[in-house]
């Protein structure tokens, strides 16, 4: 061990508990998030905003563009353990007090909608991203997936999607105001764990035997079986927000976590971000529930038959870790006949989900049209065939009626799903 320069670069002094021993530790990473970041254009002093097209910053006024400095860490993004400290803090409701921020440009105190991390100051129009220094910052997002779908594409995707089914009013594609999508980073949790389980159950085996009179009997013989299994769960994603419909979110949440990048204020410039509302402990409990049910299914699949009774198992979680991440979503609410409909669009893949109004008049006509042939056929048969019930035509009419009714019911159910939330 030869140290010509002492301390070597990257080490800083740290207090020592013993006289005569000097101590140095690696310098902590520079805390970029503590300072407010002002996204002003160096040319015109206008506001700059994150550009989904290439991940850089673009001035909304003079068109100045600042190239992106993208660092993608993907699935190797650091994960955190469930330390006692973390769990205790989570139990005391982190994040709920993030309501007051200070503008670093004009010192105005801003009361933000609860849960928002970013805003534009209404007094000086500063597009400043400000962050708490409060202890709950421990649970601030460390990683995010930047937007890669831009606003213009959202409009096109939404238009196509609205017109993609005949069940909606014809003019919907034209009249729905889907130009104004709001880009929002929504909070999500990811969980990793390994589940090691041992199971024991009685497994039934079917046996056939003949009695003395030659009759065949089938009986089930129950035998105890045991087994063990190890299941790895990698990046199970669960939402941390209650503001958005779970039904809609589930349809668009297929994100590619290989695009995870370390949190940088630039990614949030001009956009909105929501802090989590569903805490770590609560979400981890939900994740564990999913994990243990999947492990149980895997255990049961090890049994030699699928006839199982008195099943018991013991499961031990290890290597548990979590991440608090932000994922990009576009949100739009349009009105049709004075009723609001919500749209969600995956800011990474462009997948879209949302509510659409059904054109019930059109649906009623189509349903009637589907049943009409059977009715007409029945009337014709009534008029010209003496024994309708005994004729093949009567049977055909009945079949057509059943098929038409089934098709109509299917269409109505599909239409009902259109505005589910």
């Amino acid at each position: 061990m030869v140290m010509l320069n002492f301390p070597p670069p990257g080490f800083v002094p740290t207090p020592s508990q013993i006289d005569g021993i000097d101590l140095f530790k690696p310098a902590p990473p520079k805390e970029k998030l503590d300072a407010a970041v002002n996204f002003r254009c160096p040319n015109c002093d206008g506001e700059t905003a994150f550009s989904a097209a290439d991940g850089g910053l673009t001035c909304n006024y003079c068109g100045y563009h600042e190239a992106p400095e993208k660092e993608i860490v993907g699935k190797s993004a650091e994960q955190f353990e469930f330390t006692v400290e973390t769990v205790n803090r989570a139990a005391h409701g982190w994040g709920v007090t993030r309501t007051e921020l200070v503008c670093q440009t004009c010192a105005a105190r801003l009361t933000l909608p609860e849960g928002e991390l970013t805003t534009t100051c209404p007094f000086c129009a500063s597009n400043t991203v400000v962050h708490h220094k409060a202890p709950q910052d421990v649970l601030r997002p460390r990683f995010l997936i930047p937007f890669s779908v831009d606003q213009h594409r959202c409009h096109a995707i939404a238009r196509d999607w609205l017109g993609a089914t005949w069940l909606v009013p014809k003019e919907l594609r034209r009249v729905a105001a889907v130009d104004d999508f709001t880009a929002v980073f929504l909070p999500f949790w990811t969980f990793d764990a390994t589940a090691t389980a041992q199971w024991r159950a009685e497994v039934g085996h079917t046996r056939t035997r003949r009695d003395s009179k030659g009759r065949t009997h089938t009986e089930t013989v129950w035998r105890w079986e045991t087994g063990d299994i190890r299941v790895n769960f990698d990046d199970m994603v669960l939402r941390g927000t209650e503001r958005v419909s779970l039904h809609l979110l589930d349809q668009i949440k297929q994100y590619d976590l290989k695009a995870l990048a370390p949190y940088e204020p630039a990614y949030l410039a001009g956009l909105h971000a929501q802090a989590y509302e569903i805490g770590l402990e609560e979400t981890w409990q939900k994740a564990r529930h999913v994990m243990r049910e999947r492990t149980k299914t895997a255990c049961r699949s090890q049994a030699s038959t699928n006839k199982i009774r008195n099943f018991s198992m013991q499961l031990d979680f290890s290597d548990e870790s979590w991440r608090y991440i932000l994922l990009p979503v576009y949100i739009n609410t349009y009105h049709y006949n004075n009723k609001p409909y919500q749209l969600l669009l995956n800011g990474q893949t462009g997948a879209i989900a949302g509510q659409r109004p059904a054109d019930w008049r059109k649906i009623a006509l189509v349903s009637a049209a589907l049943m009409l042939p059977s009715v007409l056929l029945f009337l014709i048969l009534l008029a010209f065939v003496p024994d309708v019930a005994g004729s093949g035509g009567g049977f055909l009419s009945l079949l057509l009626f059943i098929a038409g009714t089934a098709a109509a019911i299917f269409i109505v159910l599909q239409a009902q799903k259109l505005d589910e939330i």
Partner: protein
């Protein structure tokens, strides 16, 4: 006044056993005593200039084991030997106890170093265990302690006192026999602490002992660096060090020696740790005694065999029973010989036995 008397404050002199080469400080009047190690009458005076370290020791671990414990251990030792020699009993071992002090080097040193290590900090994580039975899940929360390792580097400028190092060539063997000493009980040297004990002189110089002392010093320094970092663990400790102002002194630890004589009348040394009472020595079963018992059993077997034959010839009852007894007596005649031979073979002919039997050149 001799130099020894001047430094140790006791009227003692140096002596050496010509058979086993153990050198001692002994009271001037006991130069003609027998060697407490090999029990030969071969102790002769040793010139002062031949003594490696004349200075009095810095520390002494005093005799602290109780007489009852020593006697009980001696009894236990004697009982552990089948067909033990006639000379071996708890009483004889106890009556022949000779207190002796064995030396350790103690080195004090100033150290300057640049070091690096990984320091470990304990932290607790929350984990879960789930049990499924009767269609219900039961969740058990548990905590596990894990270690977070972080690199640390530093400079060290410290003084270390009393790093122990072996002062005898046969240290490892003695340590194996006698076990560990609690050096926390060591007291500053006073001539009164010597009492009637002989003092073994070092046969290993400080330069030879330093390679044994240095790892202990490194371990102590690593532990201090761990404390400096307020960590619970340390690993991969490396340093680049310079030593200065080294002072070598001695520490004495207590031993009782005793002996018993085997069939040939040779003394077999037994050692007691003077602090813990742990006993160690060559266990030697008596073949002489085994043969004697075998002879009696053999004669009995012959007599029983003759009796069985006579009972058979005269068609009297119990011939079979007597024949079985004769066979048992034959076994009784063979067993002691085999048992003693196997026991003696199983005992390691260790260093002490070899030293004791070594003949003068």
């Amino acid at each position: 006044m001799s130099r020894i008397e001047e430094l140790w404050h006791v009227p003692w002199t140096a002596a050496i056993c010509e058979v086993c080469d153990w050198a001692y400080l002994i009271p001037v009047g006991k130069v003609d005593a027998i060697c407490p190690h090999c029990y030969q009458d071969t102790v002769t005076p040793l010139p002062e200039d031949a003594v490696m370290q004349l200075a009095a020791p810095e520390m002494i671990v005093p005799f602290s084991v109780s007489a009852e414990k020593v006697r009980a251990n001696a009894e236990q030792f004697a009982k552990s030997i089948p067909f033990r020699p006639a000379d071996l009993s708890g009483d004889t071992l106890h009556d022949r106890l000779q207190p002796v002090f064995l030396p350790f080097w103690l080195v004090d040193s100033d150290v300057q170093a640049v070091w690096q290590a990984e320091t470990g900090f304990d932290y607790n994580v929350v984990s879960h265990e789930e049990r499924y039975q009767g269609g219900r899940w039961q969740t058990i929360e548990k905590q596990e302690t894990r270690i977070r390792w972080e690199p640390r580097i530093g400079r060290l400028q410290r003084h270390y006192d009393n790093i122990p190092a072996p002062a005898l060539e046969e240290h490892d063997h003695l340590a194996r026999l006698l076990g560990r000493y609690d050096t926390e009980a060591a007291q500053t040297y006073a001539s009164t602490l010597l009492q009637e004990a002989l003092v073994r002189l070092p046969n290993r110089n400080s330069a030879d002992a330093w390679p044994d002392a240095e790892p202990i010093l490194v371990k102590r320094a690593a532990d201090e660096c761990r404390q400096a970092a307020a960590a619970q663990h340390v690993r991969q400790f490396q340093w680049q060090s310079t030593y200065a102002d080294q002072q070598w002194t001695q520490m004495l630890v207590p031993v009782f020696t005793s002996f018993y004589r085997n069939d040939e009348g040779q003394p077999m040394t037994v050692l007691f740790n003077g602090q813990s009472g742990r006993i160690s020595g060559v266990r030697h079963a008596s073949m002489q005694r085994a043969r004697q018992i075998a002879l009696y059993a053999g004669i009995t077997a012959v007599l029983l065999f003759v009796l069985a034959v006579m009972l058979l010839v005269f068609e009297m009852p119990f011939a079979g029973l007597v024949a079985v007894l004769a066979a048992a007596a034959v076994f009784g005649a063979i067993y002691p010989i085999i048992a003693v031979a196997q026991f003696n073979r199983a005992q390691r002919d260790d260093w002490f036995a070899m030293q004791t039997r070594r003949q003068p050149e």
